[in-house]
């Protein structure tokens, strides 16, 4: 109870510091996730129908996914230094595997007959990908986005270790200053943000499934 009171006290005394950390955290997560999607989605579309490349992409993504988040963040430091940019790039790397794997798997599972029909209608490769294949693959792609988003929000808490800011700052500062209130505010906010991301994407996913089912 004492610890909770400390947390409430710290929050009441430092609302702007808290909001700044939340803003930084969201910024890190959004830019990291956006960059990851921007690379993974086109890459997935490009390799999906080339079996050898697709297998290589899935194997590479599997290895990347296995490497601990803190190791990915730390390994970029010697190359890129500290701060926002290396943190965002590390988060983009962490967002890559789920989106890539699910895009490739979703596209490879797309109905052959639908693709043949699209070809018969005279659609080019790009239109086919955008109007037929991706919509058919969208449930899996979206599940990949959800996994990536939760992972990025979660890993953004570790950006503090390479000077990237965000809510992780409150946790590390709290421990360094023996300020339990500050630390708990950071920890609870990180946890709520991750759970809200999971729940929000889950709702969107079900909404999407209903619309697809109705169409």
């Amino acid at each position: 109870m004492e610890a909770l009171a400390g947390a409430a006290g710290w929050l009441a005394a430092n609302p702007l510091t808290f909001l700044g950390a939340v803003g930084d955290h969201l910024m890190l997560s959004l830019v990291g996730l956006g960059l990851g999607i921007l690379v993974a989605l086109p890459l997935g579309v490009a390799v999906a129908h080339r079996p050898r490349l697709a297998e290589a992409a899935i194997a590479g993504a599997g290895a990347l996914r296995t490497i601990p988040s803190l190791a990915v963040l730390a390994a970029l430091l010697p190359l890129l230094g500290v701060g926002f940019t290396p943190s965002v790039l590390a988060l983009a790397l962490l967002a890559l595997p789920p989106v890539l794997v699910n895009t490739v798997t979703g596209l490879r599972g797309a109905d052959r007959a639908a693709l043949d029909a699209a070809r018969g209608l005279g659609m080019g490769a790009v239109r086919r990908a955008l109007q037929v294949e991706l919509p058919l693959a969208s449930p899996l792609v979206f599940a990949g986005l959800r996994i990536a988003a939760v992972q990025v929000v979660s890993a953004a808490a570790l950006a503090t270790f390479i000077g990237g800011g965000g809510l992780g700052d409150l946790v590390t500062q709290g421990l360094a200053l023996l300020d339990t209130g500050r630390m708990l505010v950071g920890a609870v906010a990180i946890a709520l943000l991750a759970l809200a991301t999971e729940a929000g994407f889950g709702l969107l996913e079900r909404h999407l499934a209903r619309r697809m089912g109705g169409a």
Binding site: I67, V150, F161, G174, I190, A191, L195
Partner: protein
Amino acid sequence: MRWTFRNLDLIWAAVLGHLGLVAAALALSLLVALPLGLWVARRPGARAAVLGTASVLYSLPTLALFALLLPVLGLGFRPALVALVTYAVPILLRALVAGLASLPPAVLDAADGMGLTRWQRLWRVEIPLALPALLGGLRVASVTLVSAATVAAYISAGGLGTLILTGLDQGHTEKILVGAGLVAVMALALDATLGAVQRRLPAAA
């Protein structure tokens, strides 16, 4: 490379500390997840509640969980162990319950028809058939634990994360890269080893 060669004993201790933390957490998690999974598998109400709680626990970011447990449990190896078990139990539980739920009812009926008691059916039929799913869970859990144990350095639990975090504090690039590299190799090696076991399993059964 000079730092590395001068500090091989320190690095080796960090590797052993990391492995010890992961192994202890995995063993404890199995002790919790196996009985709990077997108990809830055939009780739909309990199963939904347990799996729901498990998925919330699993979604908690590592750093947040360590920080939340800190005021209660303090710093060191033991609180880290509690946090790691919190991560691994949900993974094992979900895998075990899914494995048991996927058994064809006809197999269970056949076992009953042969006159097996509930325990015999569990040990001779259900667990062997759910083993591949459980092993899949074990693989995911061990990789997750290697990753989470890295962050445990934040609450002074030792392990390879300590090399990374102290390296970051000191601006010591070589130390950071040795820590990050070794933890990556450890995760990849564990994943590959358990993957190989997993592929061999159906042939043996």
